[in-house]
């Protein structure tokens, strides 16, 4: 996955993401693609969740998956999550759950309840940072005011780091793939450097939904695992998603 939140020169916040999934789940030699990734693409749907005929939040889902991986609470905040690998992973959380320790939350149920119930960036950030989880994760959150963009690095129990947009330091965007931002990514899977190169080349003055789509269309940020790209503008309340393909030659991840 690649997720980013960027602030343009007018203080507007734009959130973009590539949803990559299906690693090592059946490589199709003939088509040079991942089996499960290709089966997921036709299941991608956009959903407008309403209460009293009013939009509460909007999301991009795989049909049948009730949790949230990508969503927007219009005029309030935007949220995506990326996978985080850790030996202290979800399987430990599942064993604890089966043994009756149920004070943790399933990751995508947390994101769903945040999108459904939180009303502000700060409240969402607090819930995502402090709620105990069954599995580690990265939460990428954007708000509706200048400076409101962060990557929350979560272990199952702790919030290890909250990395925020800091215009005074020249950090006009935050970008997360699947590795802690203070560490080097796995050399076999460095999508971070190409993505940040393109963001820096675009420059803050030119950032928009269009140019974020360009960044997320650049190989290897776009790869064989990419099922869809989502673009969100919180103040306009826009969420739009596109199913992707990666023509050969293209990285398997």
């Amino acid at each position: 996955c690649t997720s980013l939140v960027a602030e343009d020169s007018n203080g507007n916040l734009i959130h973009g993401r590539n949803m990559d999934f299906g690693l090592f789940m059946g490589w199709d030699m003939k088509n040079r693609s991942w089996l499960i990734t290709e089966k997921l693409k036709p299941l991608v749907v956009n959903i407008d969740f309403q209460r009293g005929n009013k939009t509460v939040f909007k999301s991009t889902n795989f049909a049948g998956y009730v949790g949230m991986l990508t969503g927007i609470k219009p005029h309030a905040f935007t949220l995506t999550m990326n996978e985080r690998f850790s030996l202290d992973g979800g399987y430990i959380g599942i064993v604890e759950w089966i043994l009756g320790h149920r004070d943790g939350m399933w990751m995508s149920f947390l994101t769903r309840s945040v999108l459904e119930n939180a009303t502000s960036y700060e409240e969402a950030k607090s819930l995502l940072a402090q709620t105990k989880l069954l599995a580690p994760a990265y939460f990428i959150l954007g708000g509706n005011q200048t400076g409101q963009g962060c990557v929350i690095t979560r272990s199952r129990v702790l919030s290890l780091d909250i990395w925020e947009i800091e215009l005074k330091l020249g950090r006009w965007y935050v970008l997360e793939t699947n590795y802690d931002h203070w560490k080097e990514p796995l050399f076999l899977d460095n999508r971070r450097t190409p993505a940040m190169k393109c963001m820096n080349q675009t420059m803050q003055a030119n950032i928009s939904l269009k140019t974020v789509y360009d960044v997320l269309s650049t190989k290897p940020v776009l790869n064989k695992l990419t099922t869809y790209t989502t673009l969100m503008d919180v103040n306009k309340g826009i969420l739009e998603s596109y199913i992707r393909d990666c023509p050969n030659p293209c990285m398997p991840w």
């Binding site: 089966k39 749907v45 959903i47 309403q50 049948g64 009730v66 399933w106 599995a135 650049t218 998603s241």
Partner: protein
Amino acid sequence: QFVPPYTEECQTGMYPPKGPTFKGSVTWYTIDLDLPPSERWKPIITNKKAELVTLIQAIRDLANAFVPSGKLIDLVDKDLPLIVNTLPHPFNEEIKGIATASGVPLGEVVLFNIFYEVFTV
């Protein structure tokens, strides 16, 4: 660009989406949160039933490739339904509603929904 990781120049002019990297747009649905949780996903699942069944079958095939005896699928079909009632409301009821609307066994819909935690295995 022709050697892994196939890093290319930063793309420009890709929007509006077109060309070989654009596979299709995404359909919009509405979910009414005032409905009982078990009813909320019915319209979507009715529309996407065939694709969901195809995905689940692909996962079954993969599971059988790893565990040819079928014991893994047995475990999913027999034991995972037991976990659904431990899941918080409304997710438990929504998952049951999806299993009913799709005809996919409940354990397999549960697996799909907790896959993020399972995948770390």
